[in-house]
């Protein structure tokens, strides 16, 4: 072993790892800025069905039971095969938040990262990042109750209770990160 401690190869190695880290950070911030925009999230039976951009007009068929439409940044249910048609008569939801629920088919249309709830979006973003694998539903009771028609309030609160159950599950896993401090 020489008395030399540092060479050109070492510098390249360190710079290489540093560059990889910076690239990852850049990718992350880019992802976060995209995830920070309001999106329509459709869940069926508490499972994520799809996430859609509000900017692009679209007609989305949901499992053959419901059809919803994105038009001019507003989302509404066009048709449903259920008898009560509560969701079809719901007020359209926009980037400002809210949700439309079809209880008979367990279909939930919800705006994630809504503009007026920016402060609480942190934990939800991390959940959305992993939603592909864990298919976890992000609960937000305030959204559901605010954008709801009066007819639906008692049934939707039942939905909320289920959601809070899943939220405490995911919250309990957070303290484990602290044990990393070793």
């Amino acid at each position: 072993m020489t008395r030399k401690n540092f060479g050109r190869n070492d510098l390249l190695l360190i710079l290489g790892i540093f560059a990889a880290a910076v690239l990852m950070l850049a990718a992350y911030t880019r992802y976060m800025s995209r995830a920070g925009t309001p999106m329509l999230e459709i869940t069926v039976d508490n499972r994520l069905y799809g996430t859609y951009d509000l900017k692009h007009d679209a007609v989305i068929k949901i499992n053959g039971t419901n059809v919803c439409e994105i038009k001019d940044g507003a989302v509404r249910m066009i048709s449903a095969d259920c008898p009560d048609q509560v969701c079809v008569h719901s007020v359209p939801i926009t980037a400002n938040g809210g949700s439309i629920v079809c209880l008979p088919n367990r279909v939930v249309l919800k705006i994630v990262n809504a503009r007026d709830s920016g402060s609480s979006s942190d934990s939800r973003n991390t959940g959305a990042y992993n939603s592909g694998s864990s298919s976890e539903q992000e609960p937000d009771s305030t959204d559901t109750s605010s954008g709801q028609e009066p007819d639906d309030t008692d049934t939707s609160s039942g939905q909320d209770r289920q959601d809070t159950g899943t939220s405490s599950d995911s919250a309990s896993s957070v303290p484990k990160i602290d044990t990393l401090a070793e």
Binding site: M1, Y129, T179, L180, E182
Partner: protein, 169 residues
């Protein structure tokens, strides 16, 4: 003669294991908190690298596993043992490969080892907690590992200058 050699080797490894555990103890006394969990100086890596350079990777794995378990039981919990074990093993793997190439010096090897340690640690944590924002933690811990690894590499170089002659095998 061969037997003498073997017992000498065992004694040195025991000594170095104790030293690594002691480093972990000293480290637990220093509050070294950047607000991000998982960042620490990694003094043990000086000892692990000495073992790696002067003995070999098998010995380094043994010493490292022993100190992770002991330090984990003394100052941490089962989770921290799992995290550290993942980090320690990945770190030894990377450092061994870098030493084999013969193209790198202590600082580079130690820096890459520090980054690898944090990568292994966060990967184990990710297996335990899939909700972890991996893309956020990973680069920060990698850069932190680089910085502490460079510091450790400099310390290692200073130690090796004085200590190398001691381990006459």
């Amino acid at each position: 003669m061969d037997r003498n050699h073997k017992s000498k080797r065992t004694a040195y490894l025991g000594l170095l294991t104790a030293l690594a555990i002691l480093c972990g103890y000293i480290e637990s006394l220093i509050p070294f908190n950047f607000g991000i969990p998982g960042i620490k100086l990694g003094l043990c890596n000086v000892v692990i690298l000495i073992v790696l350079l002067l003995f070999g990777w098998r010995e380094a794995v043994l010493v490292s596993a022993a100190r992770v378990v002991v330090i984990g039981f003394l100052f941490g919990n089962l989770f921290s043992i799992a995290y550290s074990m993942g980090g320690a093993m990945l770190s030894i793997l990377v450092m061994t490969l870098l030493i084999r190439t013969g193209k790198f010096h202590e600082t580079g090897i130690s820096a890459a080892g520090g980054a690898a340690h944090n990568i292994g640690q966060i990967l184990v944590a990710y297996l335990v907690t899939p909700d972890l924002p991996l893309l956020w933690y990973l680069p920060i811990l990698m850069i932190a590992g680089l910085i502490t690894g460079i510091l450790i590499g400099i310390a290692l170089w200073a130690v090796l200058l004085r200590v190398r002659g001691l381990f006459s095998l």
